[in-house]
């Protein structure tokens, strides 16, 4: 009997990677992967706890899964599961709660369950880098985990408590993982982790690692995902000239006010951030910077907020992931005075979203008349191909005879759609 399994991932790319790896593992074992809204024998919810909203969504998805099929195996894992394990274990609708450290061994847990052997989390193998290379996940891009955990202890952040101490994956494993996924046919790899800029092992730092990855032979491109503005310098700036390295960084600014950055215990100033942006844009003027921007951190005044808006305009972020500060138990900011009322946080986030939309449109529009090398993700029944260009801009175009999913096409950008999240329109 073929068993059906459904996955739901909340939060960051690292969670996406870990889900994709599990998908790959279950698929190889003969499971049928179905949509989360469908009836399945197993539901896996990979949760997030970075904000109150993430907790809420994680709970909603867990409840949704429990309602789909009463006797299904429901596994709740990820950061909320790690943070609230004892609480979740009391809920009868959840079959297993698995923390981040044991997430890599969920297949063993589920497989044993169906063989009639009930094992506890403690019997699973704890290995944060023990995820299988993704042979066929849920995405065209293959995520490569290079690092886990964080020692920065930003005052607002729960991540060090749920992802543990910073640890870097050895180069040998990373190389093998990349070579394997290239062999599977992937054309784009995304470097991921909790705080990848702090990669450091065997005398190699993050810049050294990227240089080595770019030296791996093959027709593929490399995208660096979310990174903190720290831990890299001239070498990385120069590497952005490499044809395999996508000109895009999700560089997390969090605030445009130095005072708030200090209270957040961030390790850079707005001026440091400016220097990084300017150094890269002086080499690649249309470089794509996206960011995270928090509103309503304790003590954030209207003036501080205006500084954040000014920074967003100045740096021309093409995408801003904005979120309202929410108290995370056990963090330093929990005990800070001057907590901001929810109403003000909401008002500020609306203003950021409006600005973000304007900036996104401006940035994408600037590609009209230029070319992008698009990795095709799908071709619809009208022959319209869509995918992302090297600058991580979405592009649609009429496919040609040679256009294939998971293949590159050089596309001339001729226009842009309307709307909040417009795709660029192009032609071969």
């Amino acid at each position: 009997m073929t068993r059906r399994i459904a996955f739901k991932t909340l939060g960051c790319r690292l969670n996406q990677f870990e889900t994709d790896s599990l998908v790959s593992q279950f698929r190889k074992a003969g499971y049928d992967i179905v949509g989360f809204g469908k009836e399945a024998d197993v539901y896996i919810v990979n949760t997030c706890t970075v904000t109150n909203q993430s907790d809420k969504k994680s709970r909603q998805e867990t409840n949704k899964a429990s309602r789909q099929k009463r006797d299904a195996v429901l596994v709740v894992t990820g950061c909320m599961a790690t943070n609230k394990r004892e609480e979740l274990e009391k809920e009868h609708k959840i079959t297993y709660v698995v923390d981040n450290e044991h997430k890599n061994d969920i297949f063993h847990l589920v497989d044993s369950h169906f063989k009639g052997e009930i094992i506890s989390q403690e019997e699973l193998k704890a290995d944060r880098f023990g995820f299988e290379p993704i042979s066929k996940g849920l995405h065209t891009r293959n995520l490569i985990k290079i690092q886990d955990g964080c020692d920065n202890f930003c005052t607002f952040c729960i991540v060090p408590f749920v992802r543990g101490r910073a640890a870097s994956r050895p180069w040998k494993d990373i190389k093998e993982n990349i070579e394997k996924v290239l062999e599977y046919g992937y054309k784009e790899i995304v470097i991921t982790g909790v705080n990848i800029g702090r990669y450091n092992t065997d005398g190699m730092n993050f810049e050294d690692l990227i240089e080595k990855i770019l030296d791996i032979p093959g027709d593929f491109r490399v995208r660096i995902s979310s990174i903190e503005p720290e831990g890299f310098g001239e070498k990385l700036f120069n590497l952005f000239g490499h044809p395999k390295l996508s000109p895009h960084l999700h560089l997390c600014i969090q605030s445009g006010s130095d005072k708030i950055l200090m209270k957040m215990r961030r390790t850079y100033t707005v001026d440091d951030f400016r220097q990084m942006v300017n150094k890269i844009r002086s080499r690649i003027p249309d470089f794509n910077f996206t960011t995270d921007l928090m509103v309503g951190f304790p003590g954030e005044t209207e003036e501080d907020f205006q500084l954040s808006l000014a920074a967003a305009e100045e740096f021309g972020f093409s995408h801003i992931h904005t979120f309202k500060y929410s108290v995370r138990k056990g963090t330093r900011a929990e005990r800070m005075p001057d907590q901001i009322p929810e109403k003000i946080k909401t008002e500020r986030s609306v203003v950021v979203r409006e600005l973000a939309e304007k900036l996104k449109n401006q940035y994408r529009r600037s590609f009209i008349g230029k070319k992008q090398k698009v990795l095709v993700e799908k071709i619809d029944n009208q022959g319209i191909a869509s995918g992302y260009g090297e600058n991580y801009v979405p592009v649609k175009f009429q496919s040609g005879d040679q256009t294939r999913v998971n293949g590159f096409e050089t596309v001339e950008i001729t226009g842009i759609e309307n709307g909040e999240d417009p795709d660029l329109i192009g032609k071969l």
Binding site: D99, N100, F161, D258, M262, T269, D271, D272, R332
Partner: protein, 218 residues
């Protein structure tokens, strides 16, 4: 995967002022780099706080400098501990450290407010040949915590509440009158407002931002 550390026994507590003390505990082989901090709580308790390490890298014990916080849940209770009682210690954490190459050739200005002097004490005791000057902002001159531990002439107290300091006024006023050379590496530790104001002054005086390093205390 909640972060929890190892058990270290209290060795002794050395009172410096009515509200400030040095807590010495077993080292148990814990290796750290001067400037890093530890996450500490009383064993078995859920409340924990971060403290910069006050002792030197090669001391055979660990020390932290603690200023009692009004209504604080940890600082007041730590002071009541007796020798042999247990602490839950995790770490070291943090990146407020000095690179080895800078240590050899660099010229340093350490700027502290209150108990923010702790990492500088560790720097000074760990790296005996370090070329540094330490300016310490305090309210009263009796808060010049163990100033005799620093080489003669390298510690300057900036006192606002009495006339017995080396300088009468805030560290920021001292900095305006005595700006460092532009090649000085400036390390700042203490409350956020002092650091923020000092950053502005140092930048106005032409120090590049790559020469400024900060550790904020809350």
């Amino acid at each position: 995967m909640n972060i929890r550390g190892n058990i270290h026994k209290v060795v002794n507590i050395r009172d410096l002022t009515e509200s400030t003390y040095v807590l010495r505990m077993e080292k148990k082989g814990l290796k750290f780099v001067a400037g890093q901090n530890l996450n500490i709580g009383i064993a078995g308790d859920t409340e924990r706080r971060d403290y910069s390490i006050y002792s030197a890298e090669n001391d055979d014990y660990l020390e932290i400098l603690v200023k009692e916080v009004k209504d604080g849940l940890v600082s007041k209770r730590l002071r009541k501990l007796k020798a042999g009682e247990e602490l839950d210690v995790d770490g070291p954490f943090g990146f407020f450290t000095i690179k080895e190459e800078s240590r050899q050739a660099g010229k340093f200005l350490f700027i502290a407010s209150g108990s923010g002097i702790a990492p500088f004490h560790s720097f000074a005791r760990s790296y005996q040949k370090l070329d540094f000057k330490l300016i310490h902002g305090i309210r009263h001159s009796n808060e010049a915590y163990e100033r005799e531990h620093y080489p003669e002439g390298q510690y300057v107290s900036c006192v606002t509440g009495d006339n017995n300091g080396d300088f009468k006024g805030r560290v920021t006023e001292y900095l305006r009158l005595n700006p460092p050379d532009n090649n000085t590496l400036c390390y700042l530790c203490g409350n956020v407002n002092m650091i923020y104001d000092a950053f502005d002054i140092l930048k106005e005086k032409g120090l590049p931002s790559e020469n400024l390093f900060a550790e904020v205390y809350f």
